[in-house]
């Protein structure tokens, strides 16, 4: 529950920016900051409670045969929670700076949406416990960083 809440912030703000950014304008910045704050608090709560490793199968590409079965697995271990907290904290600061820095740009909502999607894929890379999910989210990180560089 807390884990899903902690990765909910970046993906929700990315979806808000991509879908409603042009209608909401600068109001979506406040929404984004609130969502990130929720994520950050749930991360800190996750760290403060020591829990055992719980494995969640996020999504299952149905197997082509019995040989190749592809599951996107995520697990919350203590180490991954620390990394998750660092990611959320740093990208919270980065987004705060990006709001100020990109405020003169016409497409600033698109930029911050890309930044949130990048943060989301970083979070899922941090908590992935499977080579398939590492590969998938590594590719997503590559994609979003390419788009951010080429913005």
């Amino acid at each position: 529950m807390l884990l899903s809440l902690s990765i909910f912030g970046p993906i929700a703000s990315a979806l808000i920016y991509f879908n409603f950014g042009r209608y909401l304008g600068n109001y979506s910045n406040y929404l984004m900051l609130g969502l990130y704050f929720i994520s950050l608090t749930s991360c800190l709560l996750l760290i403060s409670t020591t829990i055992t490793d719980n494995l969640v199968i996020l999504f299952s590409f149905t197997k082509l045969s019995t040989v190749l079965s592809l599951n996107l697995e995520i697990a919350s271990t203590n180490l991954s929670q620390v990394v998750l907290t660092v990611i959320i904290l740093v990208s919270y600061c980065v987004n705060c700076y990006a709001i100020y820095y990109m405020s003169s740009d016409a497409f600033n909502t698109k930029f911050i949406g890309l930044l949130s999607a990048f943060t989301f894929s970083m979070c899922l890379l941090a908590i992935s416990s499977n080579f398939v999910s590492v590969f998938v989210f590594w590719e997503l990180i590559g994609l979003f960083s390419f788009l951010l560089i080429g913005f």
């Binding site: 590409f61 045969s65 040989v67 190749l68 592809l70 997503l140 994609l143 080429g150």
Partner: protein
């Protein structure tokens, strides 16, 4: 072996691949879509039927030769894309690379690799058709030119074109979630089971396919435009958008839900192993 040579002419593998880029450059859009998406797949079907099904012993005997030819032509064509200045030649070389991947998957005699080859044939049919639609129809209609030099930052004022270019390039390079990714992964896993050396060389596919997909994308969406006529460029029309979505949406749907394809094509694959 002679039949394999005839099929290799059609695939096409390396010494015999020169005709394909020239044919694509000279042909119009519909012809090059049919050529890339359908006629090249007939070579896959022919090698499945004639080589694997009809004469399995000969295929087993010549499999190392065919794998070597496939690897050489794969590496050659995927690196040759990077020195192209013509967009349709680049798309043609990328389809050569994908077809050689299919050839390697077929001849490595593994269930997973065979399934991956058939799936890659389907995936490449959609993604290369979308690529040729973009380069041959959409961009050629607006610029009357195929050279990358003249399409620098063409999509700066056409967001729909930019997004469709991005999605097509992602589908072509094998983003997770497309059939391209699934089939490349299963070809890699399957060849690693039979021939590890081939799989190690083949694992550069993930890198090189991203290279030759993102290079034209960054060329056509970034940089300084050579003319300010691009400020008034027409975005994608409804017809072009619907055509591209018709090609690309099944790629993503079947990539995520691959079990839908299982009863259709995977039934007879086991009988093709020699």
């Amino acid at each position: 072996m002679l039949i394999a040579l005839g099929i290799a002419n059609k695939v096409p593998t390396v010494p015999l691949h020169i005709w394909l880029p020239k044919a694509h450059v000279q042909a119009n859009v519909s012809t090059s879509i049919i050529l890339a998406a359908i006629i090249l797949k007939l070579s896959t079907y022919a090698s499945l039927i004639l080589l694997i099904n009809l004469m399995p012993n000969a295929a087993a005997y010549f499999s190392s030769t065919l794998l070597t030819i496939g690897l050489i032509s794969y590496i050659h064509s995927s690196l040759a894309t990077l020195s192209q200045i013509d967009s349709k030649v680049l798309a043609a070389y990328s389809s050569v690379a994908h077809m050689c991947l299919i050839t390697i998957g077929i001849h490595s005699n593994n269930y997973l690799a065979l399934v991956g080859a058939i799936l890659l044939a389907l995936a490449h049919a959609s993604s290369s058709a979308a690529l040729f639609t973009l380069f041959g129809q959409v961009l050629y209609d607006r610029l009357h030119n195929r050279l990358f030099y003249y399409m620098r930052n063409v999509a700066a004022f056409a967001p729909g074109l930019k997004i469709m270019l991005l999605v097509t390039m992602l589908a072509n390079s094998g983003l997770p979630g497309t059939i391209n990714w699934l089939s490349e992964l299963s070809i890699l896993t399957g060849t690693a089971a039979t021939n590890l050396f081939v799989a190690i060389i083949l694992s550069t596919t993930i890198f090189t396919s991203a290279l030759y997909s993102f290079w034209p994308y960054s060329f056509s969406t970034a940089g300084i435009a050579i003319t300010n006529k691009f400020n008034y460029i027409l975005d994608l029309t409804k017809l072009e958008t619907s055509l591209l979505l018709y090609l690309l949406v099944p790629n993503f749907i079947f990539g995520i839900n691959a079990w839908m394809l299982e009863p259709i094509i995977l039934k007879d694959v086991v009988s093709l192993l020699y």
